[in-house]
Structures are given as C-alpha cells and as structure tokens.
C-alpha cells in the first residue's frame, strides 16, 4: 500500500455513491420488494404491561373478507422453541406472547390479509381476555426478592449477575485520601431509525425452505439463533438483506424475533407475508438501549489521581432478555476505565427485567451509560478536591507513549494521544475565557456552565465478551467463543473492471463509497469505475456469525478484510504479469494501470491484458493457480481472544478517543438551555472520508443531545408507555442542534491496514454526560445534584427550586 502521503482517494471528500439513488427515491429497501400473491400482516399487541392471556377469540376476525389466516401465541409455541440467550437461566422468549404478556406492545397474534388495511380491521375483531398481574417498573425494585416475578422458570427478575475484580481494589480504597460516590440514572432511549423493521417471508413446503427478506443489521449470530428456535438447519433459512437499509444503529439487531414471527405466519398460512412495522409499533416494541442504575465510587489521592473505581451497575432489558444481551452489561469491559490509568476495579454487574419493552445494542451500546457515571463522578471528584475538571483529566489520562495500552480489564487500546485531542477542544472553545465569563455571569445571577467529557470509543466487537456473563468456572466447562471476523470478496473482470462483494451490511454508512476509495488506492484505478454489492444473502454470500455493521467495525475489521482481499488480488495480478513477462514479481512496478519492469518501461503489460488472460487464456496462467481473478478474505482481528480466567478480555479491537467541551447557559426563569460554544474533537485513527466522518460525527452528536435533553422511552408507574408517537418521543431536529466546532486528531491504529478505527458512535457516548456536566457546572453554586437524564426545563426548574429551598 502506498504510504499515507501517496493516498489519492482515501482521506479525500469523495462524494458518496449512495446518495443519488437515495435522494431520488431509487433506493432498494425491503418495502420495495413486491412478490407475487404477497399478503400483509398486522400484529395485535398487548395494552397491558403484565397479564395472563386467558383467551384469544379470533372467530370474528377470521370471517372478515380478505383475511388469510391468523397466527397466535399457541401456534408459535407449537411451531418453534424459545430463543437461546447467553444467561444461566434464559426466560422462555418466543416471537409472540404465549400465555403471558410482559410489556405493553408485546405481540399477541398476527393477522395475514390481502392488505394492511384489512389486517388492521381484523385486529379490531380479535377478542383477547387478559387478567392483569402486578407490575414492576423500577430497576431496583425488580431486583428485590418480593418483586412481582416476570418469569416463573427463573424465579426472580435477575437475568444475569456477576461480581468481578481487577487489580487490588480493596487495597486501593484503603490507600485513598478521598472517596467520592454517586448514584446515576441513565434513561431508556434509542435510535428510532427512519426506516422501521421490515420483513417479507415465504415458506416453500416442497423443499421446506424459508426465504426471508429483512433489514437485519448483524451480527449474523442471530441467524443461527432463529434457526435453532424454528427447529431447522441454518441452510433451510435464507435471509436476504437488500442494498439499502434506512438506519440501524443497533436497533435493527432486534428485528430477529419478528423475522421468526413473520416466517411462522407465512408457514402457517402458506402465503408470502410482508410486515412493515409502523412508527407506533416501533416506539412500543422494537428495541431500545437499556436503562441503568449505577452506584459508583472513586478512590482518589489528594493530587487528583484516581486509584480505583467501585461500581454496581443494574441494566434493565425489559420483559424478556434476548441476544445479544446480556451484552449490555459486559460490552464495555475492556474500556471500563475509559481514558484513565485506573488499575483497580471492583464491579458488580446485574441485568434485570421489568415490564418495559426489550433492548438491543443502541449506538454506543452502554458506553453512554458507563461514561455517564464515570465522567459525572470525575467532575464530582474535581469539585471536591477544588481541582479544575480539565486538569484532573490530564492528570489521569493514559500517556501517548504507553500505547498499545492494556487496561486493567484486558482492553488493548491500540493508539491515542488524549492530551493532544483534549487540548485541541479546550483551545477551540477558549476554555480560560469561558471560565472568566462564568465568573462574571455568576455575579449577575446568570447560570453559565462548562461541561467536559473525555472518553474512549471502542469499535469492533470481539464476541468473546458475551462469555464474561459466565464465571471463569462456567466458561471452562463450556465452549469458548472469540472473534470479530468479516468477509470481503473482490473480483476483476476480463477488461480489468473491479467489483467488490461486501458482507458488511451497511445501513447508510457509505460503505460502497469508502470501499471504492480504498480499492482505488490499492490498485491505482479510478474509484468511479468500481462497483460494490452489499446485499447480504445467507445462501449466496460468504459470511460468518460476526458479519454485519454494528459497533462501528467496518473501518477496522471491514477495511482489514478489504485490504487483505485486494492485496491478494493484486498479488495474483503481479504473479500473472510476472509470469507473462517472464520476470519475477518483485522486478515489477504497477503504474498507470500497467505493469512494467523497474527501469525498463518498454517491458510492460497492461492490467487489462493480465485480466483478459486470466479469464480468456486460462492455461497461460502459472502452474497450480486458480483461473479468473477473485480473492476473498474472511479475517478476524487477532486480539479478539476469549476472556482469561481473571475475566480480562479485549472486548473491542480498536479504540478511538472523543471529547466534548460544551458551554451552556440556563435561562433562570424558563430553565431552557442555550449553547454558547461546543467543541467536539475526535480521534478515529486514519480518516477514510472526511465528509462521511463529519456526517457521522454530527449524527452522533445530535443523537447524544437527544439522550441528554429530549429522548426517553417513558412509562408510567402502571407500565403504560407514554411515548408511542413522535409527538412525545422527542428526537432533536436541526433547530435544536447548535453550531458545533468539530476537530480531528489522527493517531493511526497499528492493528488496522489503513490505521482507521470506528467513529460513528463516539459522541453518543460522550455528549449525554458532557451536557449533564455542563448543567451541573452551571448550577454548582446552588448545590443541585445532576444525576439523571433527560434534563428537561421542567426538571431543571424543580431541581433549582428544591435547591433554593434547602439553602434558605
């Protein structure tokens, strides 16, 4: 690979190839699929958060003209098994409620009809008799022994529970000069992709094969799980994910139970069935991030060194737990201590269930929950020590010469220069100036605050991390898991045109574009001429269980696989050219689409002719070489190893850095928030396409802002969902997002071919806590405790009122 300076396309603002078709309505989404005699499904859903299903009467509904069949929970129970899940006692989780419902919106039956309109008419005619049961909504209450139990076969609402220790936390706590602790509440919020879940399923009774179009985003381990649940071999169930998905963010990992459900509906009715989730369904019963209660305590030296953290984190996965949970509790193991040199850790991890809808990874996949506690606590420590919150972070950062740095929990941070990036953010904001402004403002009775967050953004998932849910003893008895493999195939046609088959399953990240840039640089060709196919087809594609786009892995393992495959192809081209020119490959140079002998430009052969030969004159190829021109790479990151017996695991494989420095002002009367200045500095290694990166950064910032101030899947104490439309689930619009100064620092990863790391989730992890820190800083003189989100004006107003009353 030409060194960075010689890159012609990687690192440039090459325009996205995807955009034209998306903008003119020519994208290919699941809903564009029209199959002969296709029918439509609608799902009747529970209005109760916890109830026995006494009876379902579908007789009236079945008589409605246009209704083709109805699938109930009893059918699903007969036709499938519960989904496996990586916890000691999994709940019996089917794709449909069987004799109990455990969250408002849980599917209770599926109607298949000639149109979605008729299917919904039929829903009105279905009579379901429920017997309500006591409800449990609070995480801590759910963990109590006397809580209403959701799953009798488990006997409690605790799905997963582990204690883990790293280093010598007890000793560190004894040596501390100061202990600072807090309780932190992170809300249930999600990603609400613009395209909802979509499934088109057919069952062929002749060969007993399912063919299911869907917008699943990976990891494809769930294909295996659905096959197990349906009781069929994997090769009898073909999933096809079309070219375009309208956003995933982790939410579309949670479509798999609906894939099973609609597949069963198609099997029962003998029809091809399409189900397009509507927005209300999405807000009730798709997938969100977990809400979390954290108790965290820091052991600190007087000079600001943080020696140890002790925390108890309780995640809520809702009425059931489903794969890849309990990933929520273990995903951040490797980067639990964030950007700091904290060597001692005492963790209690719990995953519980309440009567809320279910979860899946959600952009950042609990790093936002984790850092909400860590970064709030760091600010609280700084306040208690009378230290500047920026200063305490510099004090504790991992140093640039320590990389690759292995954390106490087994994470292997590949590269970074946290000081440089953070200083850049502080400079962009002019931090000292705003501290002065804050002083002046305080004297005028105004509330100005500066919020900081400095975090490590992990990307790529080593599937080994899920086995940290098991104790080392349990792991020793079972089958180990590890890896992060991804698949890329590249082919060249007889005229030298290149086509790439990517299994990376993008949901709008622009893989087609970046793949073209990378291959263009590797082969010295024009990216415009490169075509890319990213349909994932479990029959026709080479893939593995880790395949997919989630945890920002394309830029790391995806590009590794691509570069690897491209170099294999290039290597083959060199060998063929050398063979034809009767020289050895290392005598050749590739320039301007021609191979020529070094210093003998007239002894040459065009790439086109090499390609032509490989296809047309197959016996002219070197002995033993495959004919044609293609190369595949299905590789994992080598550091994706299983956890060791001390529960240490490199849960991710590349680690970026992100920091926010945000200046806010709170209107003392209305408590609305205004942003004066905002610097967001990112280190995601080598930048592949700055324009795409900007889009990702702005998107993740906006997403994080949503969690800080606007978004929440809210339930009342009776378990009713209060936010089942966009009227109440508030996603920030462009009007809510202030001007952001985005900065970059590039510390290339030594573990990836191009030095790139993931980037799309970083600000989701940092912004919620940075905004909270800013508000806490603004209200510090009042002694207001900020430990939960979203921070609405009404909530802030009440906090100020209470604080003032206490002071009086």
């Amino acid at each position: 690979m030409p060194d960075p300076e010689a890159r012609r396309w990687v690192g440039k603002r090459y325009k996205r190839k995807e955009d034209l078709r998306l903008l003119i309505g020519e994208g290919k989404f699941v809903d564009d699929i029209q199959l002969p005699k296709m029918k439509h499904a609608a799902i009747i859903r529970s209005p109760y958060p916890h109830a026995l299903i006494k009876n379902i009467d579908t007789t009236q509904a079945e008589k409605l003209p246009g209704v083709r069949g109805i699938l109930t929970g009893q059918d699903v129970k007969e036709m499938s098994k519960p989904f496996p899940c990586g916890v000691p006692i999994p709940p019996k989780y089917y794709s449909c409620a069987v004799d109990k419902v455990r969250y408002v919106g849980e599917p209770v039956a599926v109607v298949v009809a000639d149109s979605r309109y008729i299917a919904e008419d039929a829903l009105d005619l279905i009579q379901v008799d429920y017997e309500p049961l006591p409800v449990v909504m609070d995480i801590e209450e759910a963990a109590e022994p006397d809580a209403p139990v959701l799953h009798d076969n488990i006997g409690s609402n605790i799905y997963s529970h582990r204690l883990m220790q790293y280093g010598e936390p007890a000793k560190a706590f004894e040596e501390a000069d100061l202990l600072v602790k807090g309780k932190f509440l992170f809300p249930k919020y999600g990603s609400t992709p613009i395209e909802t879940y979509a499934v088109v399923a057919s069952y062929n009774p002749v060969n007993q094969e399912f063919v299911i179009y869907n917008n699943y985003q990976g990891p494809f381990v769930n294909h295996s799980l659905v096959a197990l649940a349906l009781g069929i071999p994997e090769n009898k169930m073909r999933w096809i994910v079309p070219t375009d998905i309208g956003g995933g963010f982790g939410t579309k990992t949670g479509v798999f139970p609906y894939i099973a459900l609609i597949a069963l509906a198609s099997k029962k009715t003998g029809m091809t069935v399409k189900w397009i989730e509507d927005r209300r369904e999405h807000l009730l019963a798709s997938a969100t991030g977990t809400d979390r209660v954290t108790y965290m305590e820091a052991a600190v030296k007087r000079d600001g060194t943080i020696l140890a953290l002790k925390d108890k984190a309780m995640d809520n996965t809702g009425g059931y737990i489903r794969a890849p949970e309990p990933g929520c509790a273990y995903r951040s193991t490797g980067n639990h201590t964030g950007a700091y040199q904290i060597r001692h850790l005492d963790r209690e991890v719990m995953v519980v269930g309440t009567n809320k809808c279910l979860t899946s990874p959600n952009r950042g996949y609990t790093c936002q929950e984790l850092y909400f506690s860590v970064e709030r606590l760091v600010d609280m420590v700084a306040a208690q020590l009378g230290m500047d919150p920026a200063e305490i972070r510099f004090k504790n950062f991992i140093q640039p010469d320590q990389f690759p740095y292995t954390t106490a929990t087994g994470g292997i941070y590949d590269a970074g220069n946290y000081q440089k990036a953070f200083q850049k953010a502080l400079d962009i904001v002019d931090y000292p100036k705003w501290r002065q402004e804050q002083e002046k403002a305080r004297q005028q009775g105004r509330y100005i605050g500066i919020g900081i967050a400095t975090i490590v953004d992990p990307s790529v998932t080593n599937i080994a991390y899920v086995t940290t849910a098991l104790t080392p003893e349990q792991r020793a008895k079972g089958h180990p898991k590890s890896g992060s493999g991804e698949s890329m195939t590249i082919k060249m046609d007889p005229l030298g045109q290149v086509h790439v088959i990517a299994c990376t399953n993008p949901q709008g990240q622009g893989h087609e574009t970046v793949i073209s840039q990378i291959v263009a640089d590797e082969l010295g060709i024009d990216p415009d001429g490169i075509t890319v196919s990213n349909v994932v087809d479990t029959h026709d594609r080479v893939y593995t269980i880790t395949t997919g786009s989630y945890s920002s892995r394309f830029a790391s393992v995806g590009t590794n696989a691509l570069v690897n495959a491209t170099r294999k192809l290039k290597d083959k081209l060199f060998k063929i050219a050398a063979h034809l020119l009767e020289v050895s490959p290392d005598e050749l140079v590739l320039e301007n689409q021609k191979f020529h002998v070094k210093d003998q430009p007239e002894k040459s052969i065009a790439v086109r002719h090499v390609a032509g030969t490989a296809h047309w004159h197959q016996t002219a190829l070197p002995e033993g070489m495959d004919v044609g021109l293609f190369a595949s790479s299905l590789i994992t990151m080598p550091t994706s190893k299983p956890p060791d017996e001390l529960d240490r695991v490199d849960s991710s494989n590349t680690y970026g850095f992100c920091c926010e420095v945000i200046v806010v002002e709170i209107d003392p009367e209305t408590c609305e928030i205004k942003f004066h200045k905002w610097a967001s500095v990112h280190d995601s290694g080598t930048v592949l396409n700055p324009m795409i990166l900007e889009g990702q950064v702005m998107g993740s910032i906006t997403h994080g802002l949503g969690g800080a101030l606007y978004e929440e899947f809210a339930y009342d104490e009776n378990g009713q969902c209060l936010t089942a439309s966009f009227q109440d689930y508030l996603c920030p619009t462009s009007m809510e997002v202030p001007d952001i100064d985005i900065g970059h620092v590039e510390t290339p990863s030594p573990f990836t071919a191009l030095g790139s790391k993931g980037a799309g989730e970083a600000s989701c992890e940092s912004v919620p806590v940075a905004v909270a820190n800013a508000i806490a800083d603004a209200l510090a003189p009042l002694g207001v405790v900020i430990n939960e989100l979203p921070l609405t004006p009404s909530k802030i107003w009440h906090l100020i009122k209470e604080a003032k009353a206490k002071q009086a």
Partner: protein, 291 residues
C-alpha cells in the same frame, strides 16, 4: 396505522357540503388541510364514516380587508396568511402566531378554519384568535350566523359549531397604529405543541397609557382563554415593569395546568406568569412607548 374504511366525497359548493352534513351529521368529517384529522384517522382514534373533502372550494380561500377588519376564508392555508403582506401589516399578531404552527410543510396544507374548528387547547391560531376577539361565520341548513368571540371554544377539541355547520369565514380586527402586539410560545422543540402560548395586545391611548390590554393563554386550560384579571390591572394605566409583573402573576394564577410527561403543572403555572410578562414587554416595546 392505517385508517378504518371510509367513504369519500369532494363537493364543489358550500351548499353541497351543508347538504351532506345535514344528512350525515356526526358521521361525517370535513377534510380541509387534514394535518390534525389524518393522524387521528390513521391512529384509528377517530373513524368518520364519510370524509367531505372541501379542498376544491376555492371560493373559501381569500384574504381581504373590509373597513377595519380582515376577512379570511376558512380554507385559506396557514402559510398564505403567514406570508400575506396585508396580514403582516394590519394584523401582525396573527401572522406571528401562525409562524409557530408546526413546521412549514404543515402550514402549507393546514387551514385557518380547520385549526379553529379543531380547537386544540394549545393551538396558536385559537390563542391568537382569542386575543383578537375574532369572530367566525358558520353556514348551516338554517342559513349563516356569526359566532361571537368567547362563545366559540367550549372545551378540548370542541367548539359551538353544530355538526351541520361549516366554518366559512374568519373575521379579525385591523390593529390600530401604535398597538402593541406579541405572540410567544414555550415548547420542547421548535414546532412542537406549546407548553404555553401567549398572545398579547396593548391598545394605547394618545397619551401613552394603555386603553385596553388583552392577554390570551393557550395550553394551560381546556381552551385558550383570556386572563381578565390580568388585563384589568393594565387597563387605563401607564405600563411599566411593576404592572407587567403583576399582570404576569395574575395570569399565572388563572392558568389551570395539568401535569404531564413533558412538564409539571407547577412549572406550567410558573411559565404562564413568565411568558405573559415577556410577551407584555415585547408588546410594549412595539408600541414605541416602552422604556
């Protein structure tokens, strides 16, 4: 979210509309902009048997001045009123209020008449209308009638319009020169339903005192309403900060807000006070007599 089955008809004249309403009464709904009705139908919260599409009644789309009033046809699009130079000049409170209605795309279709009949308690147009003492003309099987200000909004989503009547015209006053006016709103995001909406008018005397004040609040009661006690405090006075605060307090006390997920009743009550004061300050500044 697909609506239940319905019949659809697109009459060409007001008479046809009335005839259809007389036949079907409660079972029929008028489709104008559809920006409130379509979601209600798509959620199946409402299932009218017959949708009477009046979008073809061009004769109901107009803005004209008649002496000291503006007459606006019921079918006039919100965006048209918002951008109308006549309205901006002669009744700027209304154009400013409309600019807070949802987003531009919504205002392109939504109609002034539709918004009034829908009677959302936090609706910007109903709130401004309340401050303006607007009147509506309804046409029914017994002919036409004017409905007085204060008698139109009854409760949540309910007006005194009969099921057999069609709102055809809205009448609002031309604001005299030197009138102070202001519309302000507090909402979670730009374009959201108002947590509180405030419309204020200050009609001034030649000597700079306030002849009449009008303060309408939306979003803190089943209908928009006038804070009469607050208005009385300002009437006949030279308005300054103290009176503005007092009026704000009284308006806040008149608000009857509820807790909901987005904001507590207590917060809403306090915001009524704050926003009324802010609105009065803005209105006063616009009279040119503010300090």
């Amino acid at each position: 979210m697909k609506p239940a089955a319905f019949d659809y008809i697109a009459p060409k004249t007001v008479e046809e509309v009335i005839s259809l309403l007389t036949t079907h009464e409660d079972e029929a709904k008028i489709l104008a902009g559809g920006q409130s009705l379509m979601p209600i139908m798509n959620f199946r919260l409402g299932r009218p048997g017959l949708l009477i599409d009046i979008n073809g009644l061009d004769e109901l789309d107009y803005i004209k001045q008649q002496d000291d009033h503006l007459l606006i046809g019921g079918l006039t699009r919100e965006r048209t009123v918002e951008r109308s130079p006549l309205v901006r000049d002669l009744c700027p409170l209304l154009s400013q209020a409309i600019s807070f209605v949802g987003h531009t795309a919504i205002r392109n279709r939504g109609t002034v008449g539709g918004s009034l009949v829908h009677a959302d308690p936090s609706g910007e147009i109903p709130t401004a209308f309340c401050a303006l003492d607007g009147r509506v003309k309804a046409v029914g099987p017994d002919g036409e009638r004017w409905i007085d200000p204060g008698e139109f909004f009854l409760t949540f989503l309910t007006t005194s319009l009969e099921p057999t009547e069609l709102l055809v015209e809205v009448k609002v006053p031309v604001l005299p020169q030197g009138t102070g006016w202001s519309f302000m709103e507090l909402s979670r995001r730009v374009g959201d339903f108002a947590i509180i909406g405030v419309a204020t008018l200050l009609f001034m005397n030649g000597d700079g005192t306030c002849r009449e004040a009008r303060i309408a609040l939306g979003g803190v009661a089943p209908t928009p309403f006038r804070a009469e006690e607050a208005e009385e405090v300002l009437a006949g006075q030279a308005i300054g900060e103290e009176l503005i605060s007092r009026a704000g307090e009284l308006a806040g006390e008149a608000a009857d807000a509820e807790d909901d997920y987005h904001a507590s009743a207590e917060y809403r009550q306090e915001m009524a006070k704050i926003m009324v004061s802010r609105s009065l300050r803005q209105a006063l500044a616009r009279t040119g007599k503010g300090n």
